[in-house]
Amino acid sequence: MMSQLRLSFLLPLLAFTALASVGAVALYATLSGSRDPAQLPSVLVNKSAPRTSLANLMPNDAGDNMVQLTAFKGQPLLVNFFASWCAPCRAEAPALEMLSKRVAILGIAYKDRGEDTNSFLEQYGNPFRAVGMDTDGRMGIEWGVYGVPETYLLDANGVVKLRHAGPLTRGVIDATIIPALEALGS
């Protein structure tokens, strides 16, 4: 017995086709090597970074309860948004460790709890000069963060030069971060 097609019974197939296409495109991009985390157009580029003042994760280290972005002026600075609950952040930890030998890095723990951030740093290493707690994610909004991890490069005057969404990999560091650092004379 043939019955006519009904839309509601086609829907699962259509939904699956849509999902599979996304997967296929993603896979193709990964395989062809073009799926590098792209540079996002950030409205912040070539503008001053937002005024940033956050609770310090480790008050003793800085002798101050707040982390001020202005305290880092006079040198290039990487600002890294991360969270203990974010898997790619764990993946990029070695890359940050390596970069920390070359440039100061300010960590901003995005929507995270202090004790979790501490465990995270303890387990995966702490490449940061200081860690500010963006518990409610407000600073993330100011900076226009898509999601963690996300990294900004600031010049000595606190002007945003580069923004990278997604985990830092060797390739990204070599292709974008290092050249940008060199352009800043660091």
């Binding site: 017995m1 019955s3 006519q4 097609l5 009904r6 019974f9 086609l10 699962p12 197939l13 699956f16 086709t17 999902l19 599979a20 996304v22 997967g23 296929a24 495109v25 993603a26 896979l27 991009a29 990964t30 395989l31 799926r35 985390p37 792209a38 540079q39 996002l40 969270a83 609950w85 974010c86 898997a87 790619p88 952040c89 764990r90 993946a91 929507k111 004790e115 979790d116 501490n118 465990s119 303890e122 387990q123 994610g137 898509y146 999601g147 963690v148 991890p149 969404a165 997604g166 985990p167």
Partner: protein, 664 residues
């Protein structure tokens, strides 16, 4: 030699499963009995061939045959025997073979059992199983051959990722796969039904034990994974909303929906097309769960084997395994529609609500897991979705589900209002009021979410209790014992499974609300206070393990009276072969709560970082999961009530079960 035989057996299994996949289908279409009978014979042969092949691979690991590429890359001669064996499935190729083995065992089990089933149905189910195993055997043989030899064998192996050298992880993958692959049975039932265009109550009755078995294994597998993350990752957390965890949660949610909707098909002959769709979804999600994490498309803390090149094969298998059944569903599904003959407030209504909520929950997890990938494709941004999203979306849906869980089982089929329902509703409301009220009166600083969670625990616990009491209280001359004997095992299983949720929630809430944590830098002799205990750090000791060296902190736990009640020794290990460091948390689990200690960096001069937790009730989380699984087992394999009533294949029954006829 054994290796080559194992490889040959794998090729044989591939050819045989091609036979199993096609000939019985043709036989069933033409009514040719001889061709249909090939199915069980082929399924049993495939099972034996794959078992031999897997045995050969395990043998290679046991004997540390480093001429095998897989063994050389993933094993080491100094590794303890249990990890040599578990190393077989601690890598992509071996775990794929384990996956295929379990698939073949399920197929063989159906071939050996299922005698009462019509020949055509059995042949079709086994054929679908055969097609699935054909795909995966091809995947194994053509892209992930576990029997690859090395030209020159190295003197020793590269070792196994130290984090995987753990008893929990030795049994976690097999258990999880039992669940994932078990869903292939429900899938095969569904596809067979779509091919024949027939679904009746017997079909659901035969399918249900397989769903339940898969669900139980999946429940245990997920619990084991979470338990492993709890003690091995050293975070004290037990669920991270990580893509791999989500990948196992999605099929679980779909399977939970499926095992409930299959009840409606079996008892009432309704919801047929929906159940078929759920069965396809559940297995598709478990395919996604097993393989998408290996394709390198998603980043995760749990994925230890990923390779984008294999992703292509996975995607092709997925396209066939999901696309064809869904196309069949689009074509045949409308035939399975029945007219609803029940009101919304009925057992059917409750089960439909359960299904809706579970499917929404699955969609939430699916979205949270794949949204980052979709967004990346569209905008190029790479993000992670974490607990903030899931807390806001997943938890409310689960809360609603818990509300229904208390009352759904008490409603009658077709038209649900019963006197029992009223009693249970009132008791549950009182239970919720008492727990929420007590907490808000005696504890300060609780969030609304915590109050709701506690209220729900009271609601569900009291609801189940009231239901049990009404089923068992002396009535009509029958005492408790006599009435208890009359309660079907399925119902006891359901009570147990639902009660497992209460236990689980107690654990989750207890840990979330009362957990205390201390992070200190301590020198030998320091005393740390946590919860109501004093912990003395007496120093660190060097420990020599079989294939690692470790630094072990000595922590003496004393209670308020100063009595020593535990010595915890969290370790930091350095594995010789892999040059990797791991932290081994020391845990003293008790029913009241766990003492949990982690050793961080440091030396005797500046002191060591110590992380100490006291986590009340946390082990109830996994205890609850085990109780759920036990309930599932009881419901699946317990004695059936009124067997005569259920074996009549009435498609659109007008003789509804009496109001007391209850399903799990």
């Amino acid at each position: 030699m054994i290796t080559e035989l194992g490889h040959f057996a794998l090729i044989t299994a591939f050819v045989l499963s091609l036979v199993q996949g096609f000939l019985p289908l043709i036989g069933a279409a033409r009514g040719n009995a001889a061709m249909m009978l090939i199915a069980p014979a082929a399924a049993i042969s495939v099972m034996l061939a794959v078992a031999f092949s897997f045995g050969a691979l395990v043998w290679g690991f046991i004997t540390s045959d480093f001429s095998l590429a897989l063994v050389a890359n993933h094993s080491h001669s100094t590794k303890p025997m249990i990890y040599k064996i578990s190393g077989t499935w601690g890598n992509h190729e071996g775990s794929l073979l384990l996956w295929i083995l379990i698939l073949a065992i399920y197929g063989g089990a159906l071939a050996l059992g299922g005698r009462a089933m019509p020949m055509a149905l059995k042949a079709r189910i086994l054929a679908v199983q055969g097609l699935v195993s054909t795909g995966f055997l091809a995947f194994s043989l053509f892209t992930s051959n576990p029997f690859l030899r090395l030209g020159t064998a190295p003197l020793d192996g590269k070792g196994l990722n130290p984090i995987l050298q753990d008893p929990g992880l030795a049994i976690h993958p097999p258990m999880l796969y039992l669940g994932y692959v078990g869903l292939s049975m429900a899938f095969a039932f569904a596809v067979a039904a779509l091919i024949s265009g027939e679904v009746d109550r017997l079909w659901a009755k035969w399918m249900r034990p397989w769903i339940m078995a898969a669900w139980c294994a999946l429940t245990c597998g997920i619990a084991l994974g979470s338990w492993w993350a709890y003690y091995e990752l050293g975070w004290g957390g037990w669920w991270f909303w990580d893509p791999v965890e989500n990948a196992s949660l999605m099929p679980w949610l779909a399977a939970t929906a499926l095992l409930h909707s299959a009840i409606v098909v079996e008892k009432r002959g309704q919801l047929k097309s929906w159940t078929v769709l759920l069965a396809i979804m559940a297995f598709s999600l478990s395919l996604v769960g097993t393989f998408i994490v290996r394709s390198g498309l998603l980043t995760s803390v749990h994925s230890f084997a990923s390779d984008p090149a294999r992703g292509v094969f996975v995607l092709v298998i997925l396209l066939f395994a999901v696309g064809i059944p869904l196309a069949l569903y689009a074509w045949r599904g409308p035939q399975l529609v029945t007219t609803a003959d029940f009101s919304l407030t009925s057992r059917e209504g409750g089960l439909i609500a359960n299904n809706m909520l579970l499917v929404v929950a699955t969609a939430i997890v699916l979205l949270g897991t794949f949204y980052p990938l979709g967004l990346e494709m569209v905008t190029g941004a790479r993000i992670t979705v974490g607990p903030p999203y899931f807390d806001a979306t997943f938890n409310p849906v689960m809360a609603l589900l818990m509300m229904i869980m208390a009352i759904g089982p008490v409603m009658a089929w077709r038209h649900g209002k019963t006197a029992r329902l009223r009693v249970v509703l009132i008791t549950a409301a009182v239970g919720a009021g008492i727990t929420a009220g007590l907490t808000s009166a005696f504890a300060v600083g609780f969030s609304i979410g915590a109050l709701v969670a506690l209220g729900l625990i009271g609601w569900l616990g009291a609801g189940i209790g009231a239901d049990i009491w009404q089923q068992l209280k002396p009535h009509g001359g029958a005492g408790i014992a006599r009435r208890a004997r009359r309660v079907p095992t399925e119902v006891i299983g359901m009570w147990l499974a639902h009660f497992g949720i209460v236990i689980f929630m107690l654990g989750a809430v207890g840990d979330n609300l009362y957990n205390s944590e201390q992070v200190v830098r301590a020198k030998p002799g320091d005393v740390i206070q946590i919860a109501d205990r004093n912990v003395t750090f007496t120093g660190v000791k060097q420990v020599q393990g079989p294939n690692y060296q470790a630094l072990a902190a000595q922590l003496e736990y004393r209670d308020q009276s100063g009595k020593l009640f535990a010595l915890l020794t969290p370790e930091k290990r350095i594995y010789n072969a892999e040059r990797q460091t791991t932290t081994e948390a020391a845990i003293r689990p008790t029913l009241r709560g766990d003492d949990y200690a982690v050793l961080g960096d440091g030396d005797n001069k500046i002191g060591f970082t110590l992380r100490l937790y006291y986590k009340p009730l946390v082990s109830w989380i996994w205890g609850g999961a085990v109780i759920m699984a036990l309930g599932g087992l009881l419901a699946a394999f317990g004695r059936q009530r009124t067997a005569a009533n259920q074996t009549s294949p009435v498609t659109n029954s007008t003789t509804a079960m009496p109001a007391s006829g209850r399903g799990a």
